[in-house]
Amino acid sequence: MTTNRRQFIGTLGAASALIAAPSVLRAQPQGVFRIGALCPVTGAGAPYGSGMQKMITAAAEIVNAAGGAAGRKIEVVSEDTQTSPQAGVLAAKKLIDVNKVQAILGTWSSGVSLAVVPLTNDANIILMNTSGAPALSVPPANAKGLSYRFQATNDRFGRAFAEICAKEGFKRPATMAFNNASGIGNTEGFRKAWEAKGNKVVANVVYEPNQPSYRSELQKVLAANPDVIVTGSYLSDTTIIMREWFQSGQPVKWIIPGWAANPDLVKATGPEVVEGVISVDSISNETAPSFKAYAEVYEKATGQSGQSNIFSAMTWDMVHALALAIEAAGSTETAAINAKIREVSNPEGTKVYSYAEGKEALKKGKINFEGASSVLDFDQYGDVSPSFGVFFIEGGKLNRRYVVNI
């Protein structure tokens, strides 16, 4: 044991010395701004993760082709969060300590973002995420104001649901939520917004994943005689619920998040079952030139349509907003960049849609970058407020009727 203790103290001393080493060792190579692409390449986020990662790399290439930002090339180091907080933390540690990145982009699930944000705050670097949890907006997570969210919060989704509910004239809504942060976030957001309008929710049910049947859950909700059921659900459970509901034969309308009520759902249940279901999704800025540019690159990189992965449009925007802020700051200091992120993305200013365009316009004055995922305007919490498309499923097709802005 004694040798162990001595060895241990020796190792400890050596390690502290190395880490406390002068900043020369930690300095970045000249002319490079290094960012970490920390995406859910494996695990539950895998359907999106690799596309997200590819768009970070592709956007960085575009920035570099336009001469870089503040005279520096953007260099990307990629890591996988495995959609797990533990793996995410280790990967972030590696990015920060080994690769010395100056910003981390692309964390997806709320669990990973919440676990990584203390590290980026400590290292005093920027974190850009696509997570939904409301906790990310406020301290302690966003104590330093260095965290930016490119996705609508679950809360905002809920508010959109309430808006739609009112617009469609429903009077007796009930909710069904998948028991996880996002599912409950949606229905709770809805409940708060709906009750704030002076209305009542007739039933709330929270259900567990991976059950062989949701018939009893449905039975409870339907017993309250709602005219519409608002869900915070995913594709697999929504499939089961819709089939069981259809077989029950009780008429009711549905408002379902877009990641659950999508063409895959129609395929799984058949068009008859989901006829008239209202699907709500945050919509990309699809008419903007920035979206076109993104979609082109995305299709080339993955062979799929740009609309199929909204998160990769977000990571595309991350690199753009960050690079424009660097260019505007003329510096690679975090504080200077952070001060410019809202300035280059929010109004007032010349609307710009690409990096080259923005870089040019910056010479003349203020700019307002309009992203591919949204118009990209950050509020005081660093959250964007994208628009929500309201789709009605008709004859097996999702038809967009209107757009809601919160």
Binding site: A46, P47, N179, V205, V206, Y207, E208, N210, Q211, P212, S213, R215, S216, E217, Q219, K220, A223, L235, S236, T239, I240, R243, F246, Q247, S248, G249, D264, A268, T269, G270, E272, V273
Partner: protein
């Protein structure tokens, strides 16, 4: 009526649990270890049934496909893994069965992807019996379960190999002395346990959707039913599955939908402590 409906919902869910428990109890009774690969064998059965259904359009073919694919894979698992562990401790077999569960899930995940798959079944409105809603699909399901049970019990009680299986379950040493070749019995056991798990998986898949992870979640309720029914008792497993399913659903107005999963655990604990041999079990203890 509300409660009666919950009860009926539960009974139909209990059918799947009961079949899964039947597979577990057969293995537990004869090979003498809790087979943790049962859940993922069900997943395999569901995928096999999906493939067979897509190819043929017939649910009978799908059922046969599920039963044979799962039976064969479990037999391979026996030949390549469990047989090599003969004479080792229960832990060794148990850990190995978890290894097989993980391996199965991984292979299915790579082969079929992580997206959900569904059986293309025409949906139909329920029959209403005195206010109770009963789905045609559930009745068909019950029929499938019934046919499976008849086949299993026929095999166990009317055939020579079935009698030998029961003899081994009763007393392995005695069975060996009386000239039963354990090798043949084990082959029959794994084919049968696999086929039953496969059918259970198909039924679960038809009721819900199929993903590579969905079978594992059935393990705890299935173990509970096997214990409640009395280890080694095929009748007990099925009856206990029905009871468990009904109790879980029936409890939801009182404990909520989250805690209904914990009900299985509490029942298991209570049975083990109060009546360890379950409803239909033999005297052989759990101590």
């Amino acid at each position: 009526m509300f409660y009666a409906q919950l009860f009926v919902n539960g009974l139909f869910q209990g059918l799947v649990i009961g079949l899964a428990a039947l597979s577990i109890t057969l293995v537990f009774g004869i090979a003498r270890f809790p087979n943790a690969a049962t859940g993922d064998s069900m997943t395999l059965g569901a995928y096999a049934a999906l493939a067979a259904h897509k190819a043929s359009g017939s649910f009978i073919v799908a059922g046969l496909g599920a039963a044979s694919a799962t039976g064969i894979v479990l037999l391979l698992a026996y030949w390549s893994v469990f047989r090599k562990l003969a004479g080792r401790s229960v832990v060794a077999l148990l850990v190995a069965s978890i290894g097989i569960a993980f391996l199965l899930r991984a292979v299915l995940g790579v082969a079929f992807g992580h997206g959900q798959q569904v059986f293309q079944i025409p949906l139909a409105r329920p029959y209403i019996f005195g206010g109770l809603r009963i789905l045609p699909l559930d009745l068909q399901m019950a029929l499938v379960a019934l046919v499976t049970l008849i086949a299993v019990f026929g095999l166990l009680y009317l055939t020579a190999i079935g009698r030998q299986m029961r003899a081994v379950a009763d007393n392995r040493d005695l069975a060996r002395v009386s000239g039963i070749r354990p090798g043949r019995v084990m082959v029959a056991l794994w084919l049968l346990a696999g086929a039953v798990a496969g059918i259970a998986g198909m039924m679960l898949g038809m009721k819900t959707i199929v993903t590579p992870e969905f079978g594992w979640e059935m393990l705890l309720p299935a173990f509970t039913a096997a214990i409640l029914g009395g280890i080694g008792s095929p009748v007990g497993a099925v009856v206990a599955g029905l009871i468990l399913g009904a109790m879980q659903e029936f409890s939801t107005p009182f404990v909520g939908f989250t805690y209904k999963i914990a009900i299985a655990f509490l029942i298991m604990l209570a049975v083990l402590l109060v009546r360890p041999r379950g409803l239909f079990g033999r005297v052989e203890g759990v101590r």
